[in-house]
């Protein structure tokens, strides 16, 4: 018999050992049979204001607000209690507590406070049993008179250049390579969708109301109908695919500068271009003024580069300036003003064509720059931006008062209504000031 020996050797013990082994295996394996990892969405709701965030309004304006309720998991309406609170800016809300019942959209009326720039409406959402769930906010801005109101939203928060036609009542600005027209209110901007001003960089206006835009690809385009239509000028440097520096002088000449290219100018609205003499381009880009005598004055972006030309730009003569001058301005009385950044900031004046200079103002700004729009005039007053310091105000450019100290500022524009628009150094925030007087 095959298993006779085995049968004689304690069969009970043998079976017992096998049972132990089988039972052990089951006890080990069973705990290993666990559910796989997973995630189940039990419930999900979203509460969204239909109103656009950061919209701009007039102080005290009433806004119709609408809150949309979404059940992200299943199309079932759930009752909630929504408590509205004006958390910033003053003002009031018409209904502080709203029960949505079976509605997926609820409305309310928000009256903005009269004295604040920033406004915030908070909606706290609770279950019907009172358990708090989440909150959602709606923000708004009201821009006030006679106050500096900061705006960091696009497009105007990143403005790079602006030109205003005070006669036609048109202001155009450039932000992030896009051209905008000022809208119904000074803080509303509409995109100019014309295809010609492609990737605009800077904008200027001449005395006849013609806008000129220089682009990032070296083109000069112009509009003679207040920005409605645009035409390309003759390209000042035909072989140059990159940006140029442009200045429209007080005699409506267009001056174009580019490093390693000769400085050129156009006296016929950009149809033809002439080359300026005396290696003017070695002084960098800058401002050109024509005096009643026909003499041209030019100061480049390079230090101490005041020059005059008595033969319409063919030859240039250097004029010595005090300190490290970088900016030129000539007023209606043909007085010459020079800004220098020699250990601070200073304004000098000359009434004898640069033979002598008199210092008029000095201060110590936070930083120095190439100086863009420094001298801005509105009505009878000049508003002079001192980069890294603030804004000065002057009636005659002989006497200055500190209009606003803000050492973050780097540029200043004035729209066709006289609204001051100051820009900070990192190009993220602008400050509107709408003066009522």
């Amino acid at each position: 018999m095959v298993f006779n020996k085995l049968q004689n050797t304690a069969p009970k013990i043998r079976k017992f050992g096998l049972r132990i082994l089988i039972l052990s295996s089951f006890l080990v394996v069973i705990p290993l049979c666990s559910p796989d990892p997973s995630i189940e969405l039990l419930e999900s709701y979203s509460f969204i204001f239909e109103n656009q965030q950061g919209q701009r309004y007039n102080p005290g304006e009433k806004i119709d607000v609408a809150l949309q309720i979404y059940n992200n998991k299943e199309p079932v309406v759930t009752p909630f209690k929504i408590v509205f609170t004006v958390s910033e800016g003053g003002g009031s809300i018409a209904r502080e507590t709203v029960l949505n019942e079976d509605a997926t959209r609820i409305t309310n009326e928000w009256t903005l406070g009269p004295n604040s720039l920033d406004h915030k409406l908070k909606a706290d959402i609770f279950r019907a049993n009172g358990e708090y769930m989440t909150s959602v906010f709606l923000t708004a801005l009201t821009l006030r008179e006679n106050e500096w109101d900061a705006v960091s939203e696009k497009p105007d928060g990143t403005i790079t250049d602006l030109a205003a036609d005070t006669v036609a009542g048109v202001t155009l600005m450039i932000s992030n390579g896009t051209l905008y027209r000022q809208g119904e209110k000074y803080y509303l901007w509409e995109k100019v969708t014309h295809p010609v001003p492609e990737s605009p960089r800077t904008i200027e206006i001449d005395s006849r109301g013609t806008f000129y835009v220089s682009t990032w690809n070296g083109e000069i385009v112009k509009s003679s109908d207040h920005g409605v239509s645009w035409q390309k000028c003759t390209k000042p440097y035909p072989d140059n695919p990159y940006y140029v520096f442009m200045d429209v002088a007080n005699d409506d000449y267009i001056w174009v500068f580019k490093f390693e290219y000769p400085t050129v100018f156009s006296s016929d609205e950009g149809v033809t271009w002439q080359t300026a003499g005396s290696s003017l381009s070695s002084f960098g880009f800058g401002d050109v003024f024509r005096l009643k005598s026909g003499t041209l004055l030019f100061h480049g972006s390079n230090c101490c580069s005041l020059n005059r030309s008595d033969d319409n730009g063919l030859t240039w003569t250097h004029i010595t300036t005090p300190g490290a001058s970088t900016k030129l301005y000539v007023n209606d009385r043909e007085e010459i003003f020079i800004c220098n950044q020699d250990g601070g900031f200073a304004i000098f004046k000359s009434t004898d064509m640069g033979v002598t200079f008199t210092m008029l103002f000095g201060c110590f700004p936070q930083f120095g720059t190439t100086m863009d729009n420094i001298f801005n005039k509105w009505d009878d007053y000049y508003y002079i931006l001192v980069p890294g310091y603030g804004i000065l105000k002057s009636y005659d450019l002989d006497h200055y008062e500190v209009y606003w100290i803000n050492n973050e500022l780097n540029n200043l524009f004035i729209d066709h209504n006289g609204v001051l628009i100051a820009r900070d150094w990192n190009n993220k925030t602008i400050y509107y000031r709408n003066n009522s007087d």
Partner: protein, 443 residues
């Protein structure tokens, strides 16, 4: 009359086949490594030095199938202009598969208890050579190591079928020591269950006696204890131990009791123990109580660590009957696996959004646990005769592990100046029942 088998053959050759359950080591502690079956078979040659000790080698072929389950969320459709910080969405399991086929050459030392069935305990090493593998894993072209080296532990029962034929059931645990590839610290591992047939008598001992011998009836000096019970374990670490509660798990094993004197014995063996703790609280982690600010999850999980425990106990049997026993001594725990499983609920925070999720947690935590744990055991119990020659013992065992269970790599803060003590130390109480089976030595 009680009989036990007497093996006098020197060399045994056998074949075995069965199934392996993959058990990868190290690697990600996020997600679940599934225990996947695969084939295993091999040939072996066993040489008996004497009735107790022997050595074994052979050739083994096995295929290890691995599957890792994690997940991703589909953000789906949302209302226009809706940009929440946490997008709610359905969760899809993300399964990654790979497989490896090895030819390996084990070398084992065998310790046998000459009972019927014969109990074989083996430990040793193996060299393995990769012969095939999946070409892609985790969407990358995969170049795993061609070679592996590791440790083997085995326990099995062998039954004689005829004079020259025996059958065996064996459980084997292997753990590799080489990373699966140079970019991955994950190591191979598996537990296999095999059935084997062996032909014995290739080389007989001098006695040449292949009969099973009848034993005398003198009182046994050695007996085996097949034991099983329930562990109630908890976290006795220094930090927030009041936040944790008890975790229950099985305790199964085999002990050998060697009588030293009339009232004293030495007891050792191996037991499989599931230890750990439960966590039902708010936490940023699924497996431990920790948070900064407001806790992200509300968890209801069990953290379990499987150990192969080797106790070294002195057993006292006060009184003449020896019914009462008290055991005490140190133990060493060899980590086999670790996992955290359960549920977690959470509400992602976002302005204007309320979402609530239930997450089924299964994280393979083996890589976060130290390889060994040491501690002390104290046990008291009663024994009573069973079916004449057997005995049933029932004991209540307290076990205290010493030192941090989590690996230092998982608790980098423990190496800092602000170390606030251990996070996880193991303590447990086991209610244990064992059956004593006497083993007689043939004169």
């Amino acid at each position: 009359m009680y009989c036990t088998a007497g093996w006098s053959q020197k060399i045994t050759a056998g074949y075995y086949g069965g199934v392996n359950i993959s058990d990868i080591h190290g690697g990600s502690i996020s997600g679940k490594w599934k225990f996947k079956p695969g084939p295993v078979q091999g040939l072996y040659v066993d040489y008996s030095i004497n009735r107790i000790f022997g050595v074994r080698t052979g050739i083994n072929y096995s295929t290890l199938n691995y599957e890792h389950i994690s997940g991703y969320q589909d953000y789906g459709y949302y209302p226009p202009d809706y940009i929440p910080a946490f997008l709610p969405g359905p969760y899809y399991p993300f399964n990654e598969f790979t497989d490896f086929s090895f030819i390996s050459f084990p070398a084992l030392v065998r310790l046998s208890v000459p009972s019927v069935p014969r109990l074989d305990l083996m430990a040793g090493i193996y060299n393995a050579f990769l012969v095939d593998h999946s070409e892609f894993y985790n969407n990358i072209d995969y170049k795993p190591s061609k070679y592996d080296f590791g440790l083997l532990y085995s326990i099995g029962l062998t039954l004689p079928l005829t004079d020259r034929l025996e059958a065996s059931l064996n459980t084997r645990y292997s753990t590799g020591s080489k990373g699966i590839d140079k970019f991955d610290e994950t190591r191979h591992g598996s537990m296999d269950f095999t059935f084997g047939l062996a032909w014995k008598g290739i080389l007989k001992s001098k006695e040449g006696n292949d009969d099973y011998q009848v034993q005398d009836s003198i009182p046994e000096k050695i007996y085996l204890i097949y034991t099983g019970g329930i562990n109630a374990s908890w976290n006795s670490g220094d930090r927030d131990k009041e936040r944790y509660s008890v975790n229950y798990g099985p305790s199964l094993g085999l002990l050998v009791n060697y009588r030293l004197s009339g009232q004293t014995s030495f007891r050792t063996g191996v037991t499989f123990d599931v230890t750990g703790y439960s966590l039902r609280d708010s936490s940023d982690s699924f497996n431990r109580y920790i948070f900064s600010g407001e806790a992200y999850y509300h968890v209801n999980t069990k953290m379990s660590v499987d150990y192969l425990t080797i106790p070294l106990l002195i057993s006292f049997h006060p009184g003449s009957g020896g019914r009462v026993f008290i055991n005490t001594g140190p133990f060493v725990g060899i980590k086999l696996n670790a996992r955290c499983k359960g549920e977690a609920y959470y509400n992602p925070e976002s302005s204007g959004t309320y979402s609530r999720y239930r997450r089924v947690v299964y994280d393979d935590m083996e890589g976060a646990i130290k390889n060994n744990n040491f501690g002390w055991i104290v046990e008291g119990g009663l024994a009573t005769p069973l079916f004449g020659r057997l005995a049933l013992e029932c004991g209540l065992q307290f076990r205290r592990g010493f030192g941090e269970i989590y690996d230092d790599t998982y608790l980098p803060e423990n190496g800092s100046f602000y170390n606030e003590g251990t996070v996880f130390e193991n303590s447990s109480v086991s209610l244990r029942i064992g059956v004593r089976v006497p083993v007689k030595v043939v004169k």
